[in-house]
Symmetry: C6
Subunit: 300 residues, 6 copies
């Protein structure tokens, strides 16, 4: 069996959790670590990192500590360093417009809340509206709990809904939608496309390979005629639109919680996963199983 | 969240308003500025400029002042210099035909009036029929009020109408249409296309990526079959034709104002934004919300 | 506003009428000009010429005068020189067959008469059946009256009819048609194609960019699906076939004039614009407005 | 007007009849010509030849004469030399099978008889079943009577029928058909294709350019959608199939003459144009006008 | 007759069974072999190996023996060496998650059980859930009994079912499906595609070549139109979906045996072919003949 | 007339029968030939051979004779040498499986028997199941009786049936079909394709060129739209499937003879053409004329 090639956060041939923790220990030698540092937690936060990345991370953290005149590297240094490598340096100077800041907050909480309420998702690590890097006005981070080799259909269906949570939030709250969701849309479409054409996760087509195009290929490798292409388009559209309808319903059914978290985020600018848990404590209804298409969804 | 990549006037990675003002201050050192110069205003007029552009702008302005034997650079020098860089040097010698001059005047006022009357648009800075550069027989300039990272569906719908204002004016006034609108048509089509295929801003298709072609790509990257392509074409056509019908209606509903401004433009050759405001002072009816398709539009 | 890119005789960035007259004056210094020479007329005949072309023209004319032992360059030398540069040297030795000569005469008068009778056209300068260059068995020359930056829909509709005048003449007179119209057909099709796909001059599609292919592009840049392509084909076909029907009707409604001019051309081999005016003096009915499609045409 | 680009035997930019005769006279100086030599006839036989070709022809003829020990070049030498250059050297040694020889004879007489009986065709110069060159088992030669610049629709319709005369003969005589017609089919199809797509010689489409592909182009330049392509295919098919039906009917209506000529050809191996005239002397019914499509044809 | 090019394990031009045994004997000279070593068995396990591969295999085995301080190479060394070359080195350190381990076990037993129960298949050599190489979380190995030159339609139909055994097991046991089957799906689709388009093994199309694309070709070589392509897609879909339905039925009809083997595999991690035989000893119903399409299958 | 380009065994530009015999005589000088050698027979066996091939053949034969210590080259040496050059050296060592040997025998006799029973075919030279070269498990050789320049429709229809004789035999005898027919299928499809698209040998399309792709062309040169492509596919399918149905019927109608020959072939491994004649001596019913499509075939 081969694991799916879809989840960027899980790369099989790179060091696994155990491996990363071992590498971190090696590079940490000769560096003073504060008592709050857990290399195991750090290893859990860095799936996909190779040895050089981990060494780099420790060096960046050491520099951050040195800037503040500390001899010991603490956990905050390491967290900051790992995010800097992954997403880019924090941009404190950027003035986000007041209205855009509002849109971004609802958008990010849309992602985070849907991810929290759905089964078959990874835990939310943090939500923030502090801009970072060139492109991100805000972001929601996930902390995968363990190295994974396989992705299931139900996990993909939940991931599509999580990705569409931002756009759904904009529509539900403002009645207007922005370009802020374009990357989310791209990723949700890519998952739906792969489910139907690569992983045989669609009931109409079944276990068949329809498209063997890989990222970066100059030409597409399609194994179907134009007429069949129309049916493929329709299946992908159904997956996306069923997911989008579900997602808007989740936000509306939990609107009070949605509002409460967004207000907190606008005040604090960043909410960690455990704070998020407390804000949802009324334990809202969790959706059990996701349907692939709108028809089935309508029947629920 | 990623901001949309569509609005050329807003480039996220370049210096923002604050940044440009700071850069201008640096380069202005050692140059004498007249009391009417506001570097903040200049910074607001130059979104997308990088440091080198701003330095160039100040140098050009200094040359203009020197040509007239002045030691101080005044605001007019800076305005002229910024337009020279953006659009090209003024061509006083070109004799525009009398009839073409008339067409151009109505065309530009068509753009400017629609932009003024619609919500979700940026303010008009100036309208002119003084030819400039190789291609422009006249133009309408916009002064964006603030750095923006997101574009909404309603803003795009208003932008399409503004772009079609010139063509609509020609049809409404002359009953014949010219090649002068070809660039406007290209830009309006590009926005409608991106709304449907990239930004998920179309109700038929929803939040799905249909086309990932970027400008300058050698090949198109379409994620749909020919049959689906027909439906995409139809949605784009609906957006354009609804917009065009709306635009003609706006001009006809405000025909007196339209005429008055055009006559003023033919006399003065250039009208600044505040003058435009005075000419529209009867405060004509502003359209509140734009429909995406002709059917909805017809229902209004 | 950008002027249309279609009319090859008008290139915006090259010297305009005033400019060309000034350049001619410069190069004429030191050359003796006969009293009949009007550099203004010459400038009007040479839109699109750059400085080098105009200098070349004067040199060629001087050579022609010298060959005949004259010291002064006269207007005929300059006319001959300008045509030599544009179309190619006259080929007196070529013996055109008697029947082909007849076909060519009717074909060229077809062009010229339609151009004379339609509004929104430029004046006819001369019609000739003296072969010139490699490909032309005869030709009709236009003298544009002024530098133009815009082309209107009605002008394009008239231009298509003028281009199809030659083929229509063959069909009306001989009941058989020849390959002589192939270049006319190519140009008429290109205009109809651009009206529909580039300039938004078609009622079915409206102000939308459908095709952004430029001449010399290796690949076509189409913004529509195959199914939409069928509708585009149909619109272009309608424009051409309506125009062709109109054109045949114009020739038949003015058959006496058509015959009279052709007989004169067969005798004289060349007819200048003013002679043409005299031959049409009965002032035949001028068509006022052109329809885009056959249905509308039929309703007239 | 531009002449058609289809007929390979007529190239406008090369020397015309007068020109070729003059060139032949130049190169013939210093060579002894027999009294039967007519350089005018030779010039008429060599349309498309440039100076070098004509010089080569005279040299080849001189060699042929020398081989037979003659000092004078006679007309037979010149004829043989011109055919050698055009088609290739005669291959006396090749033994054609008895049955294939029969097929070839009927095939070539099919071409020749159809060409003789149809109006708008050039005169037949000679028919032969002496194999020549690598590919030709037999051939029919045409002697164009004059330099031509234009081709008419009726001439093309007759040329297609002449080309299909060989295949029609096989079917009419043997009830089986061979690969011998493949080059004829290719040329007939090319003419029908150009009539519809390049020369506007089709009533369904009218004077429109549909395909601008030239021979040797790497990519096809089609100006129509796939759906329109089907209608184009159908028009071309109609032209070919109407022509083929006509052609078979011509052969069957003149079967006795057809047989008589073929028997003569099998005896003599070569028949010249004037001998052919005598064999047809009963003056069979000549077809007056050709229809473009089968429907019209059926109505005749 | 040419043998099929599909089965990677059988390459005609490489040494056959006899040849490989002979080559192994040559390279084994000078190496001490334990009494349990059977070079014949080894040769049977290595179809497709060329001389260099076989030499390499013996060297690897010698190294393995040396590492454990043994002078004699035993059969286990040779087996380990042959698998190392074919699949990659064993990765003892990788910790597979508990749930994924369960999925992998059922998946692999799905393959193995279907292969055992169907006629026209090769014997199962071993099933294992010890991860190996970069991609395989588990695998099922086949030991082909003899060199083969031809593949029959019934063998291909059985091979498709064997390949889909893993996915079917996931669906039958967990009601959810994973990306682990993506390689199986790719291979099953390739066989079904070749049956229809290359080997004429489909009743709708019969013995016709539809697609002559070979692996690694830059462009596809299709011999059919888009419309026919739809029918081809449908035939391939029928073959796959009939096979998948059959496969799920086989697993459900033999569910007890399926469970028993999986539990054994989870305990032992590896099951050899003879152990597998004992676990199935109740001798479950063997399917006799496979249908190509679902309709036929339903009729059974 | 041009001969068809399809039959590989007949190449027009290479030496013909007479030519080859003459070349063989030249190269045979200085070599001792046994009395049984007929250079005429050898020349008849080697159509398509150029001088170098024939020289090579004689050298190979000399080596074969020398290996057996003979001074004279006999006919067997020459036959072996000619087959070695054409197909590859005999592989005595290859052990073909018992069942595959059976399949191969029926397959080859299928070819040979159909070729014998159909009119318009060349004589069978020999049938063998001795493997030769890398790919051929057995083969049927044809000895063309004379140099041919033309191929007729009836000959192609017979050739398709002969090619499908192998696959038909498998289905009739075993009820299962193998990959052994893939090369036969490719060749039969190529002939049917060329009949319809190149040679005008199809009643639906008539004498028209539809596809001018040549072997080895990088791109296909199709002269038809996708919609027309569907009709072409259907015609080719009809030709193939009618032929396949006919072929199975021929084998079943002559099953006794079919069995008798196959048994003989399994015993002797090779049957020469004259032996084959004796085995068929009961003179079974020969099919007179072949239909192009199934409908017509059904009507027989």
């Amino acid at each position: 069996m081969r694991p799916g090639r879809f989840d960027r956060q899980v790369v099989v041939d790179r060091p696994d959790l155990k491996g990363r923790e071992a590498i971190l220990k090696v590079h940490a030698k000769g560096k003073k670590l504060a008592p709050d540092v857990s290399l195991n937690t750090l290893a859990r936060k860095t799936p996909g990192f190779v040895g050089a990345d981990l060494a780099n991370l420790l060096n960046e953290a050491a520099i951050l500590a040195a800037r503040e005149g500390r001899q010991e590297i603490n956990m905050a240094d390491l967290e900051e360093a790992s995010e800097k490598v992954t997403i880019g340096p924090e941009r404190k100077s950027r003035v986000t417009l007041q209205k855009e800041r509002l849109i971004v907050a609802y958008h990010e909480v849309g992602h985070a809340l849907v991810q929290k309420l759905l089964p078959n998702t990874e835990p939310v690590h943090k939500v923030t509206i502090v801009p970072r890097g060139n492109a991100a006005l805000g972001y929601t981070m996930t902390l995968p709990t363990e190295d994974r080799y396989l992705k299931s259909k139900n996990e993909y269906l939940a991931e599509i809904r999580t990705l569409l949570g931002g756009r759904a939030a904009e529509e539900v709250v403002f009645g207007d939608i922005t370009t802020g969701a374009s990357n989310d849309i791209q990723r949700a479409t890519a998952i739906a496309h792969a489910m139907v054409t690569k992983f045989g996760m669609n009931e109409k087509f079944g276990p068949i390979l329809l498209d063997n195009t890989h990222e970066g290929d100059m030409f597409q490798t399609k194994y179907y005629s134009e007429s069949t292409g129309k049916f493929i388009d329709d299946e992908i559209l159904k997956i996306i639109n069923t997911a989008y309808a579900d997602t808007k319903k989740i936000l509306m059914d939990n609107y009070e919680t949605f509002e409460k978290i967004t207000k907190t985020l606008l005040e604090k600018e960043t909410i960690m996963g455990d704070e998020l848990d407390k804000l949802i404590k009324g334990e809202p209804e969790v959706i059990e199983e996701l349907s692939e298409t709108a028809e089935q969804s309508a029947a629920e």
